[in-house]
Symmetry: D2
Subunit: 492 residues, 4 copies
């Protein structure tokens, strides 16, 4: 969080550093809640988190309750690294919440890893959060003035402490009283001794769905794809402003506070974040992305020999572009998939070869061809430029870069690390300059109208990163960012 | 190695177990050799091995020489786990060889991890091997009768000891005298204090290529894709029976022993093993696989709504099938990509959901559709059956399974773990029985003729796994396998 | 802490379990604070903690400040395991505090490891604590009623939160206002951005000393032995109720609140806890223990052939006993010293051999001899009984057990894990019963008068574990313990 | 091994480096063999190795057989670090051998860790070795000329390969034929599928004892103290040149080759290496050391106030000195006992404080006193000099250093790392120079006659390190050392 002072740092072990080589905007977290009477909830949560891994690769945690007491395990690393048969076996219970986390390097503090678990006057609770409170700094300062100390820089700890001191007779009321004060993006799972509560902010910035487990009970997760991994049926998106309680075999849904008008669903979930097998705002993401490609084909009307995706995220759009344009779809790149925990610096001779360590071109597929390269976003431009270069070295005659959304010109303050104004290419350069920088023969962005048309409806989305029209007042956050030039650290 | 007694076991730590859930045949190893005067060879080798990781995920090792002495680091695990900045920095030199290894579980002994490094009367050598000696058991017994002890069960140690006792005046002659005795598949890299030697067996079972580094010197690797990752140019496949020496800036190529007639290149490298951006027998693998799909389309002439690949290996063939048939290509599955070191058992309720942990169906893409599912091999049938089931649950009207090679009816004794006769589905069942077992509406295999036609030439390939016609006498190996019922453990 | 609810558990990894085979009472923590302008404080703190390791082997942590921001590293394990050159190098600063921790198994929660570091309205602070607040449960409940949540079960977090909300204009006043509310044993080091504050409770239960560093600045530590390891001179014990500030080259000493009358220094520091090279209440501990042995010789007037200590803690007293009695001193036991992190269960055949795994008898030294065995405490009796058995099997003719303090009949509520009433042998058995249980020919305890005489003054010590006369009201703690039967978990 | 080429290095992970701060000569290995029908031999071996840990702290390993097949686990580190419940549980069998290893830093290669396990024409064997073959270099070169390669620099691998190629009808004969060729110090345990063989060289350089287990079967170990930890009775030292077979419940003892005349038992086992509760050459080591002290008192006839040992190894001699002289025994130093895996460099200010990190003086015990400081050896002088300095700073009036053996002037070639001629203080300086260097008021060494008298007999000991009279021809080894100036690396 940009407005939280930064002098509280518990070091990660140095061998736990992660390279930040990806230039995609980073989603900041995935959450999960499962109430499965009679089941071993920790293993269910493990596989559910595994299906949410794309939303955060830096840290993972699971908290469970057996109806009597809460227990938790969390650490930095991928889900498959954090958990093993032994520590999962120690997490006994039928109620569980889970969290995967992404954050920028500066804030990769072990003390920020979620869930957060505290003893309160209402009993012990654990909390997982996806999003970003715009007014977290103000709320944190108020609590500190009241004599409360904070052991992390996370807005999630602020939310947890507010719940510990909340008014009301029951958890629905505690949560509701806090929702009235929270400004920003938040999807929460809250574990108590007997129940799980799930909350979505009134704007609906981030996704959250619920479903019925194949056995007894229900689950909530950031994405329906994770619910389907758990075998859920009767999947339904949680609506903006709703509070759910999962308790025994029961699912209770209440309107916590009224939904904002209009809603402000993050359209970048469609473009990049969500799994293609998830639904978002009632539509399947793979199909939306195909439509983005189709729309882009209609807007660009390019002549070429092949449509090639940047793997893996742009494949659906490339399929759509190829279908709408009639230009054949093909692979142009092979991606090295084996993920490591340690970052080895390339030698100088390898550095000159650029992204070849992550991508190899299939020369035979591109040689002498006019290529349409489909990518889903262009933030800092390094990777795209290198890919264009690889295609040209591989013998491509022309390379036309088509981006499946408009230029990103504004930072996000609702839980996505887009970078600062300084870092945003499209904030600082014209499309011609960008085209030249990346060495493409032409560069096209999908229009905002085309994007909204493909997404399925003209309003109800947050498009601030394209337009600068933020759905809520982000003055505090914005000015801070400008003054301090620091990265947004949030999502808890 | 199936014929080597099995009572010599140095245990892996139990947290290093890997799940064997994939039903693909397993390639057994990738090798690499780099002579780069003036360069930090260990980091080059690291990135080269990273590009060969698909050929072996169980263990990795690098041995280097600075012209004075050899040094080595190896361990079980992925390349990115075995190596870190610290242990790479300790490996100083400009000559280096590397190895990635796959093996069946029973033989995942730390003592079998490569390279092997020994002191000999000719000086210290290190050796990396991809392949399988058919007569390793006989050779090992002969050496043991001469009073030699073995600290591993690997045929690579047999080869290493034979080199230590070989005749001849120089390493070309030492190697040549051994090649006369070695029966089977072998590609070798041999590191001495001053040079690297690379060897390919006279049948040419496994691939090996060499190229010129962007700076000084040369490299060899199992696949040209790895050479391209290193920025190599002037890439050339090592020919059957050749011995190469990389020394300073020089590359020396000699015919070690005459090539076998006809050659016996493993056709499964085309079908499954090699990276799509590698070349094999002069052709690009991605393009061969597209032709496999095109040929399959011509042979099957099915009517359907969509062509769907099993990701990732069947994508090129599915692109080819779609092009040749005119039926649209689409994604049907999302694959979970985050690889873990620890295997967590699914709960019972998840187990019933089958492969959903690894694959989710995109229901919206398959609902009500007639699907052609492209897969590159069908060995034991579990995964394919589960995928067909997922498509049907997702609403697919018809599922037609098309395999891009003929039925695999015979084990491989040249370095690939296909399984035993008992395990090979097509050895024990008719195509109709298999079709019913996997729940497909129809099942098609590419014909052997079609396979060879797509591969580009009618002879020179080993097709023993389809036909049982082994290019060399495997009686010893075969009978042993039958008697002992044990898995082939080799490639070292 | 016994009165803090126990349903908040972050699991340790299972391979971090420590065997609790020692039957000595357990000291609960050592603290350290160093202000060393121009020095690398983290390495100084490392060696200082290493010298305090005997006070807590379960966990260790260091927090530092460079005058601008605080940084911290802590983990479970011995000091030498928690810290390595890399994580120490990341802790930059000239101000540092450190902590080593012991706790009973049930409370070995990672969230309880110290120091605690939080952001407050007064800036960031880190805190290390040795002791136990008797009224922590009441204070914690009050804070929770005010809406504060707690992420650990430690009384240290309670103290930290109280400091965050304390009154007063500066840290002297903040601390003083809290001291007025804290009942029990506490020595604290508090790190702020610019200074270190050290605090000792008005009863003086636990030791704390300060000294001048050989370079610039000062240090405080639980024991003077640790200060001497750091090369300190001008060592002075912090007096009950004092607050010290270490800042730049200055040491400021103030009386925080008036000292209690009489003082209540823990006499068990003399008997067992403190290093023999430390001073306690103005006297050297090794010499006090020699006097305990001398006094015991005078009280027992036994006839025997050899005086043998239970190594290592009873050696000084055995030297004193031998001197006063004229009976020769000798070794009777060899102690296995190599400490492991993992507890391997003995086989049944080994289990029958008792403590032989930790101690071997030197038969030749005890055969046919009448032995006086000196031990410093006898809490549960298992080890002493086994040692007597080993001596007898080794051929000893008589074994007379002499304990250098009176029978321990009451639990400690000021930070020492003596065990519950149920566990305390002397609370439940007569001396004759104990003598028979441990198989000794006779059993002697030092008298309380003798103990106080050897310690050097008749009042000013807490002797509650012998007498049940607690120097402060422990009703709350006591009743809780009785009702819940649970172990004391404290010292943070 | 000094004569084995050094270009074969498999790196240890860098965090496994051990500081070499101790100036004692280093014992090089302990061995163990257990045949315990019906027992879990791996746990027995674990506790047996734990009792031998003082003989080697660098690496440990256990190999077992269940009568059908052999299995092994070994790694660098202390016994308690190498083994855990999981890897011990994987080692099933009733026959087991174990090894702990010390070696100089340069040779701490993972490939040298023992036991060595190999497949031979006689079946699989595993071997553990304590000692050093003087002619290992020659034997290794002969084997290499015969075409054998070596994967380590250890003389143990040479011995293993010689056994693999040995003549004879059974293992007694195989071993006997090798003993005829082996020159130097060796105690061996050899595990086959059905039995354990134990061997001691004809000179008897290193100790080896056998005993009857409390259940069925027998054990052998380097020291009787380890056998007593296992509860053994009927303990007997293995005689020079003997071969033992442990098989089922049977113990078979044969004379392998005739014992050398005279024997050459290492007298330094008495002085320093062996546990005080072990027997060596029929006498208890603690009592021998007491006699060393008594003899030294008679030879020196000093007047002083206190006798102080360098803990822990000089305690028995100090007790003896005090008894014979009538001067009171006391502690002067407190030793920090918590052993770490990682070596943290002291700060400059700490470095000036010298050994204070490992030892603190108890000032109150030495102030104004005339001190006799008992030490068991003085090799390089750094530690002794620092201890004298600490005593003087602590206020000692006089410090008289008494060493319990003669000056060490010659390197050992039979398995002990004494250092080279260049490093041996007494080879290069007069006693007066040494006395001045260490700052003592006087310096006394025990006479060779006095040493032999205290040891109990005038011949049969190797005293080469004092006299230079080597019991076997070490010309090869000696000249090599002089030419290469390298450390002896052996014991395997």
């Amino acid at each position: 969080m940009n407005f939280i002072q930064n002098d509280l740092v518990t070091k990660l072990q140095t061998n736990e550093r992660y390279p930040l080589t990806d230039e995609h905007p980073h989603e900041e977290c995935g959450i999960l809640g499962i109430c499965a009477p009679g089941e071993d909830v920790s293993r269910l949560a493990y596989f559910g988190l595994y299906a949410l891994q794309h939303r955060g690769q830096e840290a993972a945690g699971i908290a469970v309750s057996d109806g009597q007491k809460l227990d938790m395990y969390k650490d930095v690393g991928l889900v498959s690294r954090v958990f093993n048969p032994s520590n999962l076996a120690d997490l006994n219970g039928f109620l569980g919440i889970g969290h995967v986390r992404y954050s920028t390097f500066g804030s990769s503090m072990i003390s920020n890893v979620q869930p957060f678990m505290i003893d309160t006057r209402f009993g012990t609770i654990a909390l997982g959060h996806n999003g970003n409170l715009v007014n977290a700094g103000k709320l944190r300062r108020e609590l500190m003035e009241n004599g409360i100390g904070f052991s992390s820089t996370s807005d999630t700890e602020v939310m947890t402490m507010m719940l510990a001191g909340a008014d009301g007779e029951d958890w629905f009321e505690h949560i509701r009283s806090c929702m009235r004060k929270w400004q920003g993006a938040y999807c929460l799972v809250i574990l108590t001794r007997e129940s799980i509560y799930a909350v979505r902010d009134p704007w609906g910035f981030r996704p959250l769905s619920t479903g019925k487990l194949p056995g007894k009970g229900h689950a909530v997760a950031s994405e329906s794809g994770a619910l389907r991994t758990l075998g859920c049926t009767a999947i339904r998106e949680v609506q903006p402003g709703e509070i759910l309680r999962l308790s025994g075999e029961d699912l209770t849904i209440r309107q916590g506070i009224p939904p904002a008008e209009p809603a402000a669903l993050c359209i970048f979930e469609n473009v990049y974040f969500s799994r293609p097998d998830s639904n978002w705002d009632g539509m399947n993401v793979h199909q939306i992305r195909q439509r983005l490609g189709e729309q882009l084909a209609r807007e660009t009307r390019l002549t070429a020999d092949e449509v090639i995706p940047v793997p893996d995220s742009s494949i659906p759009a490339a399929i759509g572009y190829a279908r709408a344009s009639g230009i054949p779809y093909n692979d142009g790149f092979i991606k090295n998939r084996y993920i490591g925990r340690t970052f080895i610096e390339p030698t100088d001779s390898l550095r000159k070869l650029g992204v070849a360590l992550k991508f190899n071109v299939i020369n035979e597929n591109v040689e002498g061809k006019r290529i349409i390269l489909i990518d889903d976003s262009l933030v800092r431009g390094n990777t795209t430029g290198a890919l264009v270069g690889l295609l040209k070295e591989g013998g491509a005659r022309e390379v036309h870069v088509c981006i499946t959304c408009p230029p990103i010109r504004h930072p996000c303050f609702m839980g996505v690390d887009m970078g600062t104004y300084e870092e945003l290419l499209a904030h600082n350069m014209s499309e011609e300059q960008i085209r030249d920088m990346i060495g493409a023969d032409s560069l096209y962005y999908l229009s905002l109208d085309g994007l909204l048309k493909a997404a399925g409806r003209p309003t109800g989305y947050c498009t601030a990163c394209y337009t600068g029209n933020y759905p809520i007042d982000i003055n505090g956050a914005l000015s801070k960012t400008r003054f301090e030039g620091s990265r947004v650290s949030n999502c808890g």
